[in-house]
């Protein structure tokens, strides 16, 4: 998750891990991915900030998965989230793929001055491509019964200095 051995080009980094104890449903209603939020002030000498977030997803309740994800920002905790231009993307596995996976999202952003919050918005394309986050099924008994396993969300922001 982290840059190691920072020197002149890797100026600063903030990292946090969020423990999840339940699944987060991904529906057609947009929501912040639990644990994806980070407040960060770039180093004054930085040219870019690399935002990274890692999380688990699974297809259920639907066999198809089609998520829309956006990097969003705000200055103050109470502000509404704003989309960052051209920093939205899609993850999809259709045709009854029944997919799951551990996503490692990293998005390079131009630096800014002062403190800012960053996070990931997520929603499903339509009601037939919904899914869930943070949950693994460890046996054959179905979700929410038997042996569940919840996956931490990892997030970091790193100041980079490009030549």
């Amino acid at each position: 998750m982290t840059f190691l051995n920072t020197e002149l080009v890797l100026l600063d980094e903030s990292t946090s891990t969020s423990t999840n104890t339940s699944a987060q449903t991904v529906s057609t209603t947009r929501a912040i991915i639990a644990g994806s939020e980070i407040q960060y002030t770039p180093d004054t000498n930085a040219t870019h900030v690399l935002y990274q977030c890692a999380f688990q997803f699974a297809n259920l309740p639907d066999v198809n998965t089609h998520f829309f994800i956006s990097v969003v920002e705000k200055v103050n905790a109470g502000d509404p989230w704003s989309y960052i231009t051209d920093r939205s993307f899609a993850i999809s596995f259709l045709d009854s793929s029944q997919a799951c996976g551990f996503e490692n999202i990293e998005v390079l952003l131009d630096t800014w001055s002062g403190s800012k919050y960053l996070a990931l918005y997520i929603r499903s394309s339509v009601s037939s491509t919904e899914g869930r986050l943070h949950q693994l099924k460890m046996d054959a008994s179905g979700f929410n019964t038997g042996n569940e396993n919840f996956v931490d969300t990892l997030v970091s922001a790193t100041s980079l200095k490009s030549y």
Partner: protein, 171 residues
């Protein structure tokens, strides 16, 4: 996810976000990947160069899809990748594929190549093509993405795109 710098030395880092990339469909003809070009000189005491490129990929226009990426070099630093990508030299082992059968998938592709360091300046760029003309894919376009939860019909516009980025450094 992790940047691991051998011996604690990440050097000559260059990174950029390309804001001009447009929806591009790749067929069997190899094309340049926008934002992947860099002229890079490793420090003389470094052993490796790490090249990373990220872009949005989508199965569109075909349900089955298979993209092939090749990192290419030009030690003359004179070729224009936009028009001469096929004249650049493929770097052995620096290839990657993405796709699937009946998968209709979209993803953020994170390409990462570790190259032996070289002397002097080398031009690097990515070429991309589909394995076959029935396995075409699209880069930089967020398939039917919308920034509100109201009008799905409007979301098919080509202007909904994802800006790719490039990161390169030595160690």
């Amino acid at each position: 996810m992790t940047f691991i710098s051998q011996k604690g030395q990440i050097r000559n880092l260059y990174c950029s976000v390309n804001t001009t990339a447009l929806k591009t469909t790749y067929s069997q003809t190899q094309l340049y990947v926008v934002g992947s070009q860099v002229d890079y000189t490793p420090p003389s005491d470094c052993q490796f160069v790490e090249y990373r490129y990220q872009a949005q990929a989508s199965f569109s226009p075909d349900i089955n899809d298979l993209l092939q990426f090749s990192l290419k070099k030009d030690d003359t630093v004179s070729l224009n990748p936009e028009t001469q990508i096929t004249s650049m030299t493929e770097i052995t082992g620096a290839n990657s594929g993405w796709g699937g059968n009946q998968n209709s998938q979209a993803a953020l592709i994170n390409l990462r190549f570790t190259l032996p360091a070289w002397q002097g300046t080398r031009r690097l760029a990515l070429g991309c093509q589909a394995y076959a003309n029935y396995l075409r894919c699209t880069l930089h376009w967020t398939d039917q993405f919308r920034q509100d939860d109201v009008d799905a019909v409007q979301a098919t516009t080509n202007s909904f795109r994802f800006s790719p980025h490039l990161i390169i450094y030595s160690y």
